[in-house]
Every structure is written in structure tokens, then in C-alpha cells.
Symmetry: C2
Subunit: 228 residues, 2 copies
């Protein structure tokens, strides 16, 4: 059964949030991948990687799977009415509503995670609370048809998890082997649980000003949500 | 010390081979990332993701780190004289000559891995022998200034390993934590070692015709190398 995966893309996203899941999804011929933004012009991620959308928000076909990546550009989307309206409209008919990293904050700002359990990049996880979303400190969180992944690289685990739900474990394992996904990180760490406390603290301090700005925007976006 | 990372891109590459390392490298401000191809037009990966080069082979600055991703489009590069010449010229001044996945076959076709130990996507690993390269069944292989990664997702481990060599373990761990790289694949598997034998066999059979074509091209490219 053919299915449309609608992947939002936007300026200053973190490209691996998108390209990790894209790689996994692209290995299932039933999935047609749509990269949607306001125009068809190239979109530059936060590090300058320029990717081309395949469709606009207006022309985008209806999503079976709706996906939102994260990244610093997420902040600008939190009160971007056309984007939030696009997500709400697409979510109505979608079988799965999904995100990676701070993409969950965008879904939350669209009111699409209220009352759900979800995850986010570890630095921003607690901000989900502003939207009546229960933050879950796990790499991939499945709550009904809401499937969210943690920071950046967790998009690969997220997409394999979703692929297994859609196509069964055997085919997901097959994709995993084609992608040679038997990770061997050179260092222990990579999450606040597994990293040295001093490193976690140092990153929290270094990003404090930026995270405060992100949280202020989240609070404003949450206040703008219609009372449910 | 600023360093140029020259990342070759090409039609029908596997985008995650490139975008995984790009994500890691982009987190080190000393590194300037250059995406090089013959023209500045968008380059479509094997699944249709279109990325924009930042420079051409002609205009590309000299690499401190030279990088080649893999993917089915690798086959066309194996006897592409301008590309092989570009790689040879860039490798001369490079501190590191690197690849992910079947990108190592392109480096080998340029004569840049002869006499070295290297890795490759598991399905194509043995093809390195045609070039006098010792295939090593490991996720990341460091042999002097040649650093190669295995299939697709191993690019993340590859790039973190290289980052640690360049900037030290502390900074590599920091990038790893920012990227929340504490992988938790949903399934055991992802390499021939860890996957069920029946699945490995099934993929080998399914890809046999394509792999024969890839190997024929590798043999031809090896025969075209000047005797050392």
C-alpha cells in the first residue's frame, strides 16, 4: 500500500534530524517521501547544508506519516501560523504524527501532542511540559500514533522503530543490515545518562542563554494554544 | 587552526554516507566544509534527495581532509578520469584521506589505498583486494592517515573517530553528546556478524547481479591503475 511521508524542512533545521530518517524511509518502496517547505528554493540547515524541497506546503499531498525534524530553526516555527496550520491540517488524516529532536516542540506548538507522552533533544525535553505533554526520557517514544525521537542521531532509531510498525520487524531488520546499522560509538556517552556529569553541566551552562530564549518562545506558543 | 574538509558528492551516492559525517564535522568550527562536484547544480542521491554542492572540482580549495562517500553512483566514478585525478591531486596535500561505505572503492580506484588497510560496506568489502588493499572487517579503520568507515551509518562513528584524532577525545565526546549519539537500535543486527545468517544470505542473493557488476568495474579499474 503506497503511503506519503511528508517531511517538513525549514531554514536552520539540523539536517541529520531529517536525513537520518530519510535514509531509513527511502529503503521502503511503499513510502513516497515529500520534503515540504514554503517555497521550492534550497533550504539551508544550521550548518549550511543546502537541500531542495520537493513540494510546497500548499501543493503537498496528504500525509500518511507526518514528520518534523528539529534544530535551532524550530524556534521561528513556534509562532509561524501557516506552518502550524499546515501541520494541524496534515495531522488530521495522518496515520502517524512524528518528530525527531526539537521537532516535537513544533508539533506541540501546533497542539498535536497535548495529552501525549513524547521525547525531544535532552537539552529541551522539559519544555514539552508547557504544552501539556509528558516528557519521556527515552530515545524513541511511541504513544498511540505519536512517535517521537530524541536528539539528532536518534532519528535513525526512531525511523527503524516506525518502519517495523509499518512493515514488520523482518523488513526493518533488513533495512538495518543494508545500512550497516550496528553502531559502535568511539566513546561511552552521548546522553546525559551515559556522559560524565561535568560534561553535561558544561553543555547546559554553555547553552543556557539560547535555551532560555527557546523556552520563552515555547511558553508564548503554549499560551497561544486554544484551551482544550 | 582552520582546516578544509573536502567532501566529494555525486549523483546516486547514498546521502547518509555524506550527511552523517557532515553533521559531526559541522560541530567543529575549525573545519570548513566544502561539498565538491563537477557543477554547482543540485546532486540527487540514489533516493532522490537533492543536495547543493558548494564548489566545483576545479574551484575547490586544497583539502586538509579529503572525504568520499559511497553509494551505487560510486560505480560510475571508478573510471571517471577527472574525478580520480581530482582525488589524487587533493590527496597529495591532505592530512587525512578518508571515506565511508563504497567510497573506499573510489579512493582505491584512484590508487590512494594501495598497500593500506581499509574497510567498506560489508557487501563490497572483499572488492578492495583487487586494488592491493587489505580489507578489514571493522566499523572504522585507521591506517596512518587513511581513515575509512564501513557501510552508511558507520559514517557517524568514522567522523567522531577522526574528530577525536584532530581535536581530542574531550571535544569529540562533547559533539557526541550534542548529537545525542547514544544509539539504541531497535533490533539486534545491522552487520553480518550480528544479523541472522538467513537474512545475510538473502541480501547477498538479492544483490548478487548488482554486486557482480560492481566487482567487474572494480576489476577493470584495478587493471587500469599504473603498476606501482
Amino acid at each position: 500500500m503506497p503511503m506519503n511521508v511528508v517531511m517538513l524542512m525549514y531554514p536552520d533545521m539540523t539536517q541529520l534530524d531529517l536525513t537520518g530518517p530519510f535514509e531509513v524511509f527511502s529503503r521502503f518502496p511503499e513510502l513516497t517521501l515529500h520534503l515540504a517547505w514554503k517555497t521550492l528554493e534550497p533550504v539551508a540547515d544550521i550548518s549550511g547544508l543546502r537541500l531542495l524541497p520537493t513540494t510546497t506546503l500548499e501543493a503537498c499531498p496528504p500525509a500518511d506519516i507526518l514528520f518534523v525534524p528539529g534544530g535551532p530553526g524550530q524556534i521561528a516555527l513556534m509562532d509561524d501560523a501557516p506552518v502550524l496550520e499546515f501541520l494541524r491540517a496534515q495531522a488530521k488524516g495522518a496515520t502517524y504524527v512524528t518528530s525527531v529532536c526539537t521537532g516535537s516542540l513544533v508539533l506541540a506548538a501546533a497542539g498535536l501532542l497535548t495529552g501525549h507522552r513524547a521525547t525531544c533533544h535532552w537539552l529541551s525535553l522539559s519544555q514539552l511540559r508547557h504544552f501539556g505533554v509528558e516528557p519521556v526520557n527515552e530515545r524513541v517514544v511511541v504513544d498511540g500514533n505519536r512517535v517521537t525521537g530524541g536528539g539528532v542521531t536518534s532519528g535513525i532509531d526512531f525511523a527503524l522503530t516506525l518502519a517495523a510498525k509499518l512493515f514488520g520487524e523482518a523488513r526493518a531488520k533488513r533495512a538495518q543490515l543494508f545500512m550497516e546499522y550496528d553502531p559502535a560509538p568511539p566513546f561511552i556517552g552521548g546522553s546525559p545518562r551515559s556522559s560524565e556529569a561535568a560534561l553535561v553541566t558544561s553543555i547546559r551552562q554553555e547553552t543556557a542563554a539560547f535555551q532560555t530564549r527557546r523556552e520563552d518562545v515555547a511558553r508564548r506558543a503554549a499560551a497561544a494554544l486554544p484551551a482544550s
